[in-house]
């Protein structure tokens, strides 16, 4: 028989607060259950209040890891994309959320981690370091990121250019990026509102893109971001 191998949780030994802020956070049964409940409730809400339509579901890869990328207009976006992914990914899906919006207050950071399973990224000084950690985690296996490469919600309804940081996560790897376009989210819950309007929302999922041959440097990241942006824009029409 082989020697037993123990691999403690990667965030083992951290306090509850440190765990919430850690990019190494691993999800146990309790978060999986709370995320599942939240996913079920929001799916019903989106179906009734926003008559959510999804096209291109068949383009989603069968196995993790991959990154789901979309335009960003509202707080509903991550919830919609989390609900689109099949049930078996619950607990393995990590929306990458702005640390300075969701993780500075205790209550909102508990909500973001317990129900959305979000990982924080700090926009001011995130830099290469945390993106490197995220890349490593993705390479290790079973996780899916939900990412909005515009970096912030649109204030005008127009999609902003994608930031090249996305490239740092997948350049020179076989990890697919799945482009997705969300339509109607700006009308339903723009950044200026706190209560959603009952507007129709639709999501279109495109074919996965691979960047195994893109160089892992600034030029590569920029071309990668431009390619993905192009793919998302193509889905808009």
């Amino acid at each position: 028989m082989e020697e037993w191998r123990f691999e403690p949780a990667h965030d083992f030994g951290l306090s509850a607060k440190q765990r919430r802020l850690s990019l190494r956070r691993e999800v146990g049964l309790e978060s999986a259950i709370s995320c599942f409940l939240w996913r079920s409730i929001t799916r019903v809400y989106l179906a009734i209040a926003h008559r959510l339509k999804i096209r291109g579901r068949e383009n989603l890869p069968a196995n993790a890891p991959f990154i789901l990328v979309a335009n960003h207009a509202s707080h509903l976006d991550a919830i919609i994309l989390g609900g689109i992914l099949p049930l078996r990914f619950v607990g393995a899906v990590f929306p990458i959320a702005a640390g300075d919006t969701f993780f500075t207050k205790r209550a909102s950071s508990i909500f973001a981690t317990a129900f959305m399973n979000a990982l924080p990224i700090w926009r001011k000084n995130c830099g290469a370091h945390s993106l490197g950690d995220l890349r490593e985690r993705l390479l290790k296996g079973a996780c899916v990121y939900i990412l909005f490469p515009e970096g912030t919600r649109t204030r005008t309804g127009e999609m902003a250019p994608f930031k090249p940081g996305l490239g740092r996560l997948v350049a020179r790897t076989n990890i697919p990026i799945v482009p997705c376009y969300l339509d109607g989210t700006f009308a339903a819950l723009p950044a200026s509102r706190t209560v959603p309007r009952w507007k129709k929302i639709s999501a279109r999922i495109g074919k996965p893109l691979l960047f195994a041959n893109t160089t892992n440097d600034r030029a590569g990241w920029q071309s990668l971001a431009a390619t993905v942006e192009e793919a998302v824009r193509a889905l808009a029409t």
């Binding site: 037993w4 123990f6 083992f12 951290l14 146990g28 049964l29 607990g91």
Partner: protein, 334 residues
């Protein structure tokens, strides 16, 4: 559910029916106050460094939080005692699963938690048959569910970790909850919790004072022969003295049997401690978690209880039984 059962489950007015319960409660509160006073005096006399002072304060504050969480449910009633043990089981399992990495096998993790819930139900129902049926049934489920991944590599390890988790945290610890089915559970449960915790303290103090020869340098380098023997003597004395009042008039109330009970508490307690140390060494970690400031994880604190609960349960059950005069299968009937 008849009146007697309802009173046992929820009758907090009976909290101090037994004088032993009252003594233990008063003694514990007094001990905490005295500890706080000593720490304050040491500080005032300038005898404790900042580091030592912080460490001591942290420990006493942890105890001040844990004591009501431990004694409160027992005083409130059997239902709360059973619930508290169930919560402790799940939290201990969670620490173990995160430390070993077992939590990544989510479906198996669900089976273990279901096993703990089923055990809790069996206890609350006072249905001994189901209580002893849950371990083999959990084993059956674990063996089956672990196959579904169709990955023979690591199968034995996955199933074994599931079985160990359930047996230690669900079944063994469950015996402590099962004691609440006795009409007179308060003094018994309190005696066990108190002496198991004091056993650790005795081992620590006598070990510091008389301990020279290390007994388990590989497993836990701080354990000494002096500490082990000191704890054995002090705990056995305490258990048999207080036990005489707890078990007055029952089959356990003879000097030899009471000393036997004390020896079981002390020996099983110390081995439980060493068991968790062995697990930690095997995995390669220092503490099981960060739940209790100054102590580490919950498992670092309640390690001794894991082996004591079943050993003491069956020892006492052999001589006097648990809850034999109480109605069985409260919810399921039959």
């Amino acid at each position: 559910m008849n009146l007697a059962t309802r009173e046992r489950l929820f009758g907090f007015r009976h909290a101090f029916d037994s004088p032993v319960t009252l003594w233990i409660t008063i003694a514990v509160i007094a001990a905490l106050l005295i500890a706080a006073l000593i720490i304050w005096l040491l500080r005032a006399a300038g005898r404790s460094s900042d580091k030592l002072h912080d460490e001591l304060v942290k420990r006493v504050v942890s105890w001040a939080v844990m004591t009501p969480l431990l004694l409160g449910p027992v005083l409130l009633g059997a239902a709360w005692t059973i619930l508290a043990v169930a919560i402790l089981s799940i939290l201990c399992y969670r620490e173990f699963a995160r430390a070993t990495g077992f939590f990544r096998h989510r479906s198996l993790s669900i089976v273990v938690v279901l096993g703990i819930i089923a055990t809790t139900f069996a206890i609350a129902d006072h249905w001994y048959g189901f209580f002893v049926a849950v371990p083999p049934l959990t084993m059956v489920l674990l063996a089956m569910v672990a196959i579904l991944r169709d990955e023979p590599r690591g199968y034995t390890q996955r199933v074994s970790l599931g079985v160990i988790s359930f047996l230690l945290f669900g079944h063994c610890l469950g015996h402590l909850g099962y004691m609440a089915n006795d009409a007179d559970f308060r003094p018994i449960v309190m005696l066990i919790i108190l002496t198991v915790e004091l056993n650790d303290v005795f081992a620590y103090i006598t070990g510091k004072t008389f301990g020279h020869r290390k007994i388990t340098p590989q497993t836990s380098p701080n354990k000494t022969l002096g500490g082990a023997v000191g704890a054995l003597v002090l705990t056995t004395t305490l258990v048999s003295t207080v036990g005489h009042f707890v078990f007055a008039g029952s089959g356990v109330d003879t000097p030899a049997k009471l000393i036997g009970l004390g020896l079981i508490v002390s020996v099983a307690g110390q081995f439980g401690d060493l068991m968790v140390s062995s697990i930690k060494r095997d995995i390669g970690i220092k503490d099981m978690g960060v739940t209790i400031p100054g102590h580490g994880g919950l498992l670092d604190r309640f390690d001794s209880m894991l082996l004591v609960a079943p050993a003491v349960f069956h020892y006492i059950a052999f001589f006097r039984g648990f809850g034999i005069d109480q109605p069985a299968r409260i919810f399921t009937g039959g």
